[in-house]
């Protein structure tokens, strides 16, 4: 259904076709006075049945990349494919359906509907699809719930369980429909290290035992070390990557190098007065009415 794609300049070759493909994607946020280039001509292939970690200094475009791959945001230019469907061409209805059936999400916080119980949150994707889970799917959910250790919390509400448990519920919900790919943006960012490790163990198991494809943004070299591949972003571009077997120390060192580069960069920014993509994200989204 799509034209043959050029091979990306990627050091690794895969036997199976990639689960997600990003081609020449550029994303620019323009406002009245400034324009920020969050992604610059990015090419990336995500291998199936693998965990791909994305790392990079703050503001390097990790979240933007995730949003664009998941069809939450549209690129300024370039193409994005999930499987062999070009999602940059889908309309809102089709994207909604795609999110419901093919894609799972986990974020740093606020993943759950506060008025729903744990189990209702997990079953929500089926409800949104206007159907009851089949017996098989029900068994799968039960299995997930038991495996994630939230069985005894089924009928609790999100505010009655710990942050680590909330994230596990979010993962269960994201995996309930067996999505083609799971996107996780700093899923352990709000957790203490023990809960964080627990959450990561569960994700690694999903890759190993179920062949789940996962794309994960993290700041933690230990977390990244459990991935099959780490892609490093800086200033809106993939700059380097680690694949195969590597240790957390290597990840940490690469990050350090990138961050000191970034620091040098911003110093020279001050001198030359040029604008770069690495701005602090302003969180106030309040838009005053005219």
């Amino acid at each position: 259904m799509t034209q043959p794609l050029p091979d990306p300049a990627s050091p690794t070759t895969y036997s199976a076709p990639p689960i997600a493909r990003v081609r020449n994607v550029t994303k620019t946020y323009a406002s009245a006075h400034t324009s920020v280039t969050a992604l610059q001509d990015v090419d990336l292939d995500v291998a199936p049945a693998q965990m791909t970690a994305i790392m990079g200094p703050s503001g390097s475009g990790k979240s933007t990349l995730m949003h664009i791959m998941a069809g939450l945001d549209t690129p300024t230019s370039g193409r994005v494919l999930i499987g062999d469907r070009e999602i940059s061409a889908l309309d809102d209805d089709e994207l909604t359906k795609l999110r419901r059936r093919k894609i799972g999400f986990v974020f740093q916080a606020f993943n759950l509907i506060s008025t729903l119980t744990v189990i209702d949150n997990i079953l929500l994707p089926f409800e949104l699809d206007d159907r009851k889970p089949t017996t098989q799917e029900r068994e799968w959910v039960d299995h997930l719930v038991a495996r994630l250790g939230i069985d005894h919390r089924r009928d609790h509400r999100p505010n009655e369980i710990s942050g680590g448990q909330q994230q596990r519920v979010a993962i269960a919900r994201a995996l309930a429909t067996r999505p083609d790919v799971l996107f996780a943006d700093e899923p352990t960012g709000n957790l203490d290290s023990r809960s964080g490790r627990e959450v990561m163990r569960i994700m690694s198991e999903a890759v190993r035992d179920l062949g789940q494809s996962i794309v994960l943004v993290t700041h933690d070299p230990l977390v990244a070390a459990s991935a099959g591949r780490v892609v490093f972003l800086a200033d809106g571009r993939p700059v380097t990557e680690l694949a195969g077997t590597f240790r957390a120390e290597e990840v940490a060192q690469t990050m350090l190098d990138l961050e000191s580069d970034a620091a040098l960069d911003s110093e020279s920014d001050v001198e030359t007065g040029t604008a770069h993509g690495s701005h602090v994200v302003t969180s106030a989204t309040e838009v005053e009415a005219p």
């Binding site: 209805d93 974020f107 759950l112 949104l128 919900r173 309040e286 009415a289």
Partner: protein
Amino acid sequence: MNPIREIRANPRQFAPSFLVVFIAALFGTAIMQGIGILSALMRSAEVVSGSDTATVMIMVVGMTFFLIALFVSSIVIANTFSIIIAGRSRQLALLRLIGASTKRLRRSAGLEGLIVSIPATLAAVVVSTGLALVTLGLLGDAVTADPGVGSFQMFVPAVATIVVTWYAAFLGAKRISGISPIEATSQAVEQRSEDARSSKRSLGLALVLLTLGLIMLGGGAFLGFALSNPAGLLIATPGGACSFLGLIIGNAWFLPPLQRFTGAVMGRSAATRLAAKNIDRHPTRSARTVIGLIIGITLVTMFATAMTTFRDQLVSYAQSLGQEGFEIVEDALMQVIDRTMLFFLGMVAFSVIIAVIGVVNALTLSVRQRTREIGLLMALGQSPAKVRSMVLGEGLQLTAVACLVAVPLGIVYGWIGALAVISPLTGFFAPSLPWWVLGVVVLGSLLAVALASRAPAKAATTINPIEALEAV
């Protein structure tokens, strides 16, 4: 999502909507049943001549006031739902993210309105029918004809209330279409302000209606006092309705500046300024909250001014004729006019009550949505008393804006109405102001809002700063 679940999870935020629907449906059903009893009474007493026209007249007047009350209710309901939706925007964004379509989310919000309205309307029908039966019992043998208290048409207003509530909830949920799934990914807890969706088109329509209405109003009055043509009222009435509708449609454009002005005038204390800022943060929401009250107070002022002016002019006209023995007729006339005025005021009172509930409801909901922010204020050392006076100040400022617009407007409408009717006899005259009515309606609504905002104010200060600042 699932409407029943949403209501069960947070039933209290629907209580005011329930009350508003109840009052509107009660009002409508009571009018129908009251008229049924009245005409049965007339038929039993064999007052055949004229009874039919009288019944039809009362029916038309009663239904007009019911429609006004229903209109105010629909504004209150739509506002309530839009505030509830704004408070849920993160959750809705998450649902969009997981794959719910906007159409579906909006439909289920509308269903919440339907689900709230059905028991409220049923309760109203039961209460009204109970009252009707008690009345019939008291009248006893005086009513021999069938009043048809349980007949089908008695329940038309109730059904209308349900349909209107359903639709108003759906309209209030319009904002859902603007929620993008990406909002769920943001770390910011701050909730986006409702954008002023009032389009340029609504401004255009408002201006056209306003201009047209003002021309007709002026023309009607002029026809009356300059050309002594009694047809003036026929032009002035639709003119008044037209211009008022223009103001209502354009509320998002002209009320916010006024709100800002009132806020600036109200005082410089920290609490007042915070209150003014809270109002200004959601200018269109505040405008929508105020417009219901404006409708009610304008109508009260209009009827009172028109009737008072009419009465005074009639009396002075009669005196100017200088006829003997007129005092007796004069007294009777004044009584009739005053009673008619009271009857009208009683009818409009329902709309005012509904609008006051709307103001308090908007306050309550917005306090609940600001839990985190108020918690932060208190953690930073804002005293509970100050927080309370902030909430109170917000309610009073909104009510003050309503009075500021509605009282002059009502006086002008009432005055023009009186001019159109009676100036062919008397020539031009100034309006007589119905002071006690103005006092009661202005002080009454301020007092009602002040009293009723004690609950949200108290809720605001029981917020535990530590819990408020914890992320859920």
